[in-house]
């Protein structure tokens, strides 16, 4: 696949290029502050830049008539208005977290929280010492999913990328469900799933949950459009 990337010099930008290139995908448009390279017409644009950068991504999508994947955080109401507008004619996938594992963990907790209602519950989240906020946004999101008043222990040490563990225990048993991100690869894998999904859509606004639910169907359809890749 041929893609463009906005935020090409950022950590996620470089990680995406490294991961996608291992599948033979070509980055044909690179954009960052004071940097623009255009080698070919992309089939989609990936944006990991800033709410400001996003405006230019939307323009690029119109220029190339292609879809958009947005992983940029801190989006404003204006950002979402722009994305909503774009999604009327082109496909858009937007998410703050492209980790498949965390999405699955969330779904497990949602599906089984009732069965654990007689059990005690606690959460531990561990991140590197540079992370300022505690508990993590993901921990708060998981707590909302569990729908209980549980204590979250936040630990900040060394270079741990990101771990979340939910512990259920009754008088005789313990069940633990945990997720660990090993590196940014956790997210670039999800971005590529979203890209494959996007190529099967004509227009519309999608979340990463839509991608996960639809990707199998998309995979089948892709066999039919494999000449595009």
């Amino acid at each position: 696949m041929k893609y463009g990337i906005v935020g090409s010099k950022g950590k996620m930008g470089r990680e995406i290029m490294e991961y996608f290139s291992s599948f033979g995908d070509e980055c044909v448009v690179e954009k960052d502050v004071d940097h623009f390279v255009e080698r070919d017409v992309p089939q989609l644009i990936i944006d990991f830049s800033s709410p400001q950068g996003l405006k230019e991504s939307v323009e690029l999508c119109r220029k190339y008539n292609c879809g958009l994947i947005v992983g940029t955080t801190g989006l404003t109401d204006e950002s979402f208005r722009l994305l909503g507008e774009l999604s009327k004619t082109l496909p858009v996938v937007q998410s703050y977290n492209f980790s498949s594992g965390m999405s699955i963990m969330k779904e497990i907790l949602k599906a089984f929280r009732e069965q654990f209602k007689d059990w005690d519950c606690a959460m531990i989240e561990i991140h590197h010492s540079q992370k300022k906020d505690a508990p993590s946004g993901t921990a708060k999101m998981l707590k909302e999913v569990i729908q209980r008043d549980l204590s979250i222990s936040s630990i900040r040490v060394g270079g741990i990328f990101g771990e979340h563990t939910v512990i259920f225990s009754n008088a005789g048993e313990v069940v633990e469900i945990s997720h660990r991100a090993l590196s940014r690869r956790a997210f670039s894998i999800g971005v590529r799933r979203a890209a494959l999904f996007l190529l099967t859509k004509e227009k519309g606004f999608f979340t990463y949950e839509d991608v996960l639910k639809g990707v199998d169907k998309a995979a089948e359809e892709l066999r039919g459009i494999s000449e595009l890749l």
Copy 2:
């Protein structure tokens, strides 16, 4: 509740009596080899004895006109014939594993195995050094549920009661789901859930999965029959 126990001198028999007594339940019939005590008419019989002992449990149920919970292992075809016969007129719950946590873990894996199909998968099970068989029966059961050809690492050390961990990992993430039995309490909790379930039934053959699905409904019905307890 008033209950009788067959296998009253065994480890599970004693554990059940200790746990049930913490709720004010009364053990009114005790039976073991060369041991029989009858203090009152029980509302149900709990059997953790042997395939031989089971015959006497079935007779006791007929004598007292009450239901039966069977946790005895190594049952024969003859055992199941006896239980099937009994269940035509009285309620029977039979299971080789009364751990709620392990039942939930099994259900999680069943419900989410598809979502992990692109991930690598492995299992670790750790038990005390007296345990002879490896992998454990539970590990083999979990492997069947996952429906994949995965490697099981079996570790036998010290006094660890029983741990099973399923590890899913892709290039950037790890999701682990684990169960740990802390003591026989893991099972006596389940036996009491089964007992509460049994008191709401007139007849029929049930597994522990039926108990877990029906216990909420049973709990509601029990409010209506709470005078029985």
Copy 3:
């Protein structure tokens, strides 16, 4: 070995009897509130009762001219005065924690805290939901050993007997050292080590650390006195 136990009906008393009997040791004196059985002359007395019960243990030691092991908690100055007095003529081992593993963990942290001084450090301790105090006394003791201002995350869930994990992490690595008590067996093993140690001593006051350092030497000496056992 023939021993007596004060606090014979308590949880630790019963656990000690069960564990010791697996080695063929005989409990020849049992004492508890309103309970006294004397079958033979003991070679040592084990006290897991109360500061009040301890007085009677000291009297029993004088009566039988034998040593004393004390695991009772909440000892007063008066208790220690009594023990000091007894230790002038008979051997005494006193400790609030007879877990060998926790003693070893403490020693590891003491020996290696310097090597981890450039690493971040945090501690997690998990106990059952009935435990009221947090952090646990053991966690506070470990923090003192590490000699750093580290955060302790205390979790209270279900029936977890007692876990302490020390996490060291720098930008690229994590080293974890953890201890888990599986049951009261963690302590009865240590009490028996203390008993074997005590039989080699004529008098003096000893801690469990003395036992761990001396037990190998004691084991050798015991071969010479094996007719005593």
Copy 4:
């Protein structure tokens, strides 16, 4: 500090440059196949290339009259002869593993294996699915250190960088000691410690264990030579 790197385009080469630059260190000589850049005279050469590349590293050290750090694997007798020769006039640090945490874990096991001799012991090592050998070289090394006939469970899944866990358990307790490498950063930290150590030496052949033992003393000495950095 000003340093040169041989194998500058390899994964470890790039990681070392990224990590060292965060301290303001300057890479003034870069060498790789068909690649040579020389911007200044280095104070030391770091080699993560190949046994062939090592020859050129030795020549560079002679040219600049500076020390050498070698992390290249698969060294031959000829490699060690070259390094031995060089170490007569210049300082050399050679190691196959620059992870501080693994070195400390090794020392802990060496120092405490005697205290665990009555405990059961097992090891689990987990690595990414591309790793072909099992057990890992590090696991075998740890087994030698523990000096016991223990079972090693090797798991190969996803992108796990490298984990080693040693489990000790008796009837009542579990003690676990584990090491996890999060990324190549685990090794570049050690290489920089070795570099600081090397700058304090005039000549001689050193291992990474020598670095760990001497680095505190070196750090003090470095205050005196801080103008060099």
